[in-house]
Symmetry: C2
Subunit: 427 residues, 2 copies
């Protein structure tokens, strides 16, 4: 029995590793098109910034490690160009080599969307998606000493890259075609991010399309990700409405024995009840783990996502989970929201103001989402909201939560509880 995994970063290696732990006798082969496997892609902005000094810090494991420690064969530079499910084999670009499989995990990831503007193909335009991208960009920064950077897109990658470039002394402008940052349709969150960027003299231009690169000697395209689904789709694997691979809760595609996981696949969103395409490393790992278990004969399910994310914008944590009020309205809910600002911990323990916005459905009083920003304690609070969303909590239960309190860590009324109390009066 051979398990073949296409893709050797987060989802693919999680799948392979989990399958190995479940079935020591399985033959497991991972095909990775790039030169590197198992790298922490979320660390690329910090490698660019210089906080991560050596790309080696981001490489978690080597193919050699997988071979000797886990009995998993990992081939790099192995690009799959087609899948023939009838024959249970994939075809590589190199010499049209064919590799047989009994079970297949598709973890082909995603690639950056490209923007179309004058000069988009010129050498000062970069993406920051792979370790190779980061290496190229670092080389360019060192060799060409660019002074004016244009970041196209105000999503995670765009904002984190803006931070990294600014800290390297470049003048940075972020342009975003929508009216908001981070794809949330949230004006207050956008305002908070804008103020933070401006404090560090980063220019944010919303509602703006880039037409050319005039005035910039460096541009980063960070306009989102597109799932790599072409070879899967050609093989008859169904896609979902967002264009990513449709999977059931076992991460199986419509083709029996063919699983998909990670940035190429949809995930069930527990708040909307529908599949969503929100490619993130933590989700990829969780999906991969389930795909690997099931490819090895288990029958596990992936619990779904609630859309939790966090990023650092010049020392301010920005996090959200679930839906913004605007997103909730578009999903057919009747959202009501409350926003409060409260201290992260006692003032004499350097507590900082944090803003918590909660959204609930006025028809059911169910919590639909939350967003938080502040210099301290954001990650812990968004995780409470993520856990509440997973459990479909109602607002009146959220305000009852028995959260930890001592002055070094929190305030006696936790900001999340204060926000829930406020919202409870309104729904």
């Amino acid at each position: 029995m051979r398990l073949l995994v296409i893709g050797g970063v987060a989802a693919g290696l999680s799948a392979a590793s989990r399958a190995r732990r479940i079935d020591p006798s399985l033959e497991i082969v991972v095909l990775e098109k790039g030169a590197d496997i198992s790298y922490g892609a979320c660390g690329l902005p910090y490698y660019l910034e210089g906080r991560v000094r050596d790309a080696g810090q981001l490489k978690v494991y080597t193919p050699e490690y997988f071979r000797t420690e886990r009995n998993i064969a990992v081939r790099t530079g192995a690009r799959v160009v087609s899948i023939s499910h009838a024959r249970r084999e994939v075809v590589l670009d190199r010499a049209a080599e064919r590799v047989h499989y009994d079970k297949l995990v598709i973890a082909t990831g995603a690639r950056p969307r490209t923007a179309d503007f004058e000069g988009a193909a010129s050498p000062q335009v970069f993406t920051l998606h792979t370790l190779e991208d980061a290496e190229r960009l670092k080389t360019y920064l060192r060799d060409k000493q660019p002074k004016h950077a244009l970041v196209i897109g105000a999503g995670y990658i765009g904002l984190e890259t803006a931070d990294a470039l600014r800290r390297n002394g470049l003048a940075v402008t972020v342009v975003e075609q929508s009216p908001d940052v981070l794809g949330r349709g949230d004006a207050e969150l956008t305002k908070a991010v804008r103020e933070r960027l401006e404090r560090f003299r980063v220019v944010l231009q919303l509602n703006t399309r880039v037409s050319d690169l005039q005035g910039y000697d460096l541009a980063i395209m960070a306009t989102g990700l597109r799932p790599n689904v072409e070879i899967a789709a050609e093989a008859g694997v169904q896609l979902g409405p967002a264009g990513a691979i449709r999977v059931d809760e076992h991460m199986e595609t419509n083709l029996p024995g063919v699983y998909a996981a990670g940035d190429c696949a949809e995930a069930p969103h527990l708040v909307t009840g529908r599949p969503a395409y929100i490619p993130l490393g933590t989700t990829a790992n969780k999906m991969g783990r389930v795909a690997g278990a099931n490819a090895a004969g288990r029958r596990e399910r992936f619990g779904g996502i609630v859309g939790t994310a966090i990023l650092n914008v010049f020392g301010m944590g920005v996090a959200f989970s679930g839906l913004s009020a605007g997103q909730a309205r578009r999903e057919g809910f009747s959202p009501v929201s409350a926003r409060i600002t409260a201290n992260s911990r006692a003032g004499y323990f350097d507590g900082r103001p944090m803003t918590v916005e909660l959204v609930a459905d006025s028809a059911t009083r169910r919590l639909l989402g939350g967003s938080i920003w502040g210099e301290d304690g954001v990650e812990g609070r968004i995780n409470v909201i993520a856990t509440a969303l997973y459990n479909r909590m109602r607002v009146e239960d959220l305000e009852q939560l028995d959260l930890a309190y001592a002055p070094p860590f929190a305030t006696v009324w936790d900001p999340v509880v204060i926000a829930a109390q406020q919202l409870s009066k309104m729904v």
Copy 2:
């Protein structure tokens, strides 16, 4: 209609304030036996330490504030010596004054348990429960310059006070009559706290009863709290098995129109399903809020506690929620536990190892509790566990949680998820 509140610290003032917001026409009187109201008792160790420079920082509101801003009459130095519910009045010690009530909230708090040993009544023995206690102790430290402190009891107050005294240059010994710290019956947590104390040259003696004060010029009694229930019990208010006032989910006692909240009352424990006596400021405030709402005519319920607590021991956060394995066994569960150590965030963002122990019931796979210790990120993770316990989550759901990930804040597999994965294999 007059609402009378006995006690002007956490629960009492929360009750009074909430009642006022609900009913602007209610007459509200708060009787506080001490000189101070509304102080942050949880900050007392930090006042002792010197981090809080001025006791005024701990006084949140004054009686004057309550009178002018909230139309609530607060009388300090007003000690209630009896309640006559038949007459709907309380009797004060001063001139046997009688004060009528229509609704009554009992928020009489708790007092330190006393230990019996030779010298227990001598002037170098202190408790740290009220602001006056802290003032007296600070005066003693300044005037007498004691060198060797004995802390009796290794609960929150004992450990926090040991920290505060050590940072003031005293040699500190903590003695505890049980085999464990913090009343958890948890040997690993005890070991972690012991190592931390020893690193800062604080001596911890377990299984030890104090017989005398030989060798010490300062002693702190921190052997736990006893609820102040005497006047309530004499008036016919029922007590629960732990000796605190029994309340229903509306915070009402067996006497109609008489509510109790805070450190004098029991709270329903959602993990055991039985009332518990765990006096903490955050619980007191929540209970008081519900008592005040219902005394003002609402019909709200208190959701209960899961036993969450956190403290700082020389820079190490120590937190728990729910039951330890030993506690779970005594409650009739069949506990299984898993303990892992993982980084709080990426190493290049100064991530620190944290230990997470989770306990589940092997019969139902339900999460029963968790404990966490480490130098970073403890408060956020214990709150995830507290939220999971509130929602009666099972282990296999806990490992599915969509928690926030970015290198400045977490690791791609959150320590709570890693612990849940580990435990999932065992239940």
